[in-house]
């Protein structure tokens, strides 16, 4: 069975029934975000990677108790991630208890891995600034920028939805992006 389109809930429930492929799909879907979460918060890429692995190991250890919840499973995932981070901050060392318990082999990062973890860290940090700049835009500009840049909708579609002319949408997007650029320069 392909787990590509399954929800997080479905993946975790299947993983709780020992479906390794389901958990692998869950891991592949969220591991980059979890790694970015850590990479933006700790200096050492090795530590970030270890914390990511330990976080998912923590999820595996807790799978037997997993049940469908109203909130997204990622809240749970990042709750575990946050604990691992707090624990690291306290001890200044990554406790790999869950990994050891599961027999997960730790990976030493090679140069490519290190560069990519750094890249994720920068992306995460940039994301904070970009998101703040976007949020600071006037509502009309922000919605236009989001619709066109983030959701890749055409000017025409956005104009129809907003009941304005295409020229107005173009102007909003243009002004919004200019304003964000100015903000990013200052940041």
């Amino acid at each position: 069975m392909s787990w590509q389109d399954a929800s997080d809930d479905e993946l975790l429930l299947a993983a709780a029934r020992r479906d390794g492929d389901a958990f692998e799909a869950f891991f592949r879907r969220h591991a980059p975000h979890v790694l970015a979460f850590f990479a933006a918060r700790v200096e050492d890429p090795e530590v970030a990677a270890d914390l990511m692995a330990e976080t998912f190991a923590g999820v595996v250890v807790s799978l037997s108790r997993y049940q469908r919840r109203p909130e997204p499973p990622t809240s749970w995932l990042f709750g575990i991630a946050r604990y691992k981070l707090a624990d690291y901050a306290r001890r200044q060392t990554v406790q790999r208890k869950a990994m050891r318990r599961l027999g997960i082999e730790r990976r030493e990062l090679d140069d490519l891995d290190l560069a990519q973890v750094e890249h994720l860290s920068e992306l995460a940090a940039t994301g904070v600034v970009v998101r703040d700049e976007l949020a600071a835009l006037p509502a009309t500009q922000r919605l236009a920028v989001e619709a066109h840049v983030v959701h890749e909708r055409s000017y025409q579609e956005i104009a129809t939805d907003a009941n304005v002319s295409e020229a107005v949408v173009r102007q909003r997007v243009s002004r919004g992006l200019r304003r964000m650029k100015e903000g990013l320069r200052k940041a």
Binding site: D19, G20, A31, M52, S64, A86, L109, V117
Partner: protein, 283 residues
């Protein structure tokens, strides 16, 4: 992407999940911990039932004093001892995970690559009624600058009870609570939190916004953003819907902000007139 790194761990976790021997070992340990926790919880519950105070009176709203030190409205923890707990906020509850190894309990408000707030409690502190939430004010700075704050406040002497699934339960710890504007008056205590319990926002926490799943005050909610967060309540919830959302629900076409409890903005899917229909004032 770091395919080698992710591939390596993807394979490792696939094996670890599918490997029955390891799973049995894990399940066995979890069961032992569960039994121990359950047994302890049972003893405590029995002691409470036999010897706990039975001062069953309501807490007048005017008697409640918000603690001055509170800087956020994450406020109440339900530690069930079953590996999950609930953070109750003025706008709803968050189920959180329990770390097997240490008994700590943590949650994350946003599930994006950037933290918007969250924290960890040790089990002991949670049960003592004092959760410490750690929210780094600068994501790149990590947790070395401790911005912890007390999650609980005080209620005047003689407090009283909570109503939990229809049963009155005596309060053992000082908490900061408030009577609900609807239904039975309730306060909440660690260990028995419930989504119907009302908890006031702290004065500085009014920037926290409740994002509701549907145009219903009893709908699933998510509390978003700390005081430092940018944007109007509607913008905050628009972002929540886009980045997190509620299950597979589509992003609502429009959102509307109403005046919720404790001066906190509540944002519902809807348009002009939605707040009034819910018995709330529009913001």
């Amino acid at each position: 992407m770091t395919n080698d790194l992710f591939d390596h761990y993807a394979r490792e976790f696939n094996r670890a999940v599918a490997e029955p021997a390891l799973r049995r070992q894990v399940a066995s340990r979890a069961a032992r911990v569960g039994v121990a926790v359950f047994a302890c919880a049972g003893v405590v519950a029995a002691a409470l039932a036999l010897f706990g105070p039975r001062v069953e009176r309501e807490v007048p709203a005017d008697d409640l004093r918000p603690p001055s030190a509170i800087s956020s409205s994450f406020s109440v923890l339900d530690q069930r001892g079953d590996g999950t707990g609930t953070i109750s906020t003025p706008h709803g509850d968050f189920r959180v995970g329990l770390d097997d190894n240490t008994g700590a309990i943590c949650f994350e408000v946003f599930n994006t690559t950037v933290s918007q707030g969250g924290g960890c409690f040790s089990k002991a502190r949670a049960r003592a009624g004092h959760g410490s939430l750690v929210v780094p004010d600068d994501p790149r700075r990590g947790l070395d600058k401790d911005t912890s704050f007390r999650a609980f406040g005080v209620v005047p002497d003689g407090v009283s009870y909570v109503v939990y699934h229809g049963e009155r339960v005596p309060v053992r710890n000082n908490v900061w609570g408030a009577p609900s504007s609807r239904g039975p008056r309730e306060v909440t205590i660690p260990g028995i939190g419930t989504r119907d319990i009302s908890v006031l926002t702290a004065p500085k926490a009014s920037a926290l916004t409740g994002c509701f799943r549907t145009a219903d005050v009893d709908a699933d909610t998510s509390v978003e953003m700390g005081p430092e967060g940018p944007g109007s309540p509607v913008e905050i919830c628009e972002r929540y819907w886009r980045e997190v959302g509620f299950g597979s629900d589509p992003v609502p076409e429009s959102l509307v902000a109403c005046q919720g409890k404790g001066d906190a903005p509540w944002v519902f899917p809807g348009r002009e007139g939605t707040c009034e229909a819910l018995g709330l004032d529009p913001l």
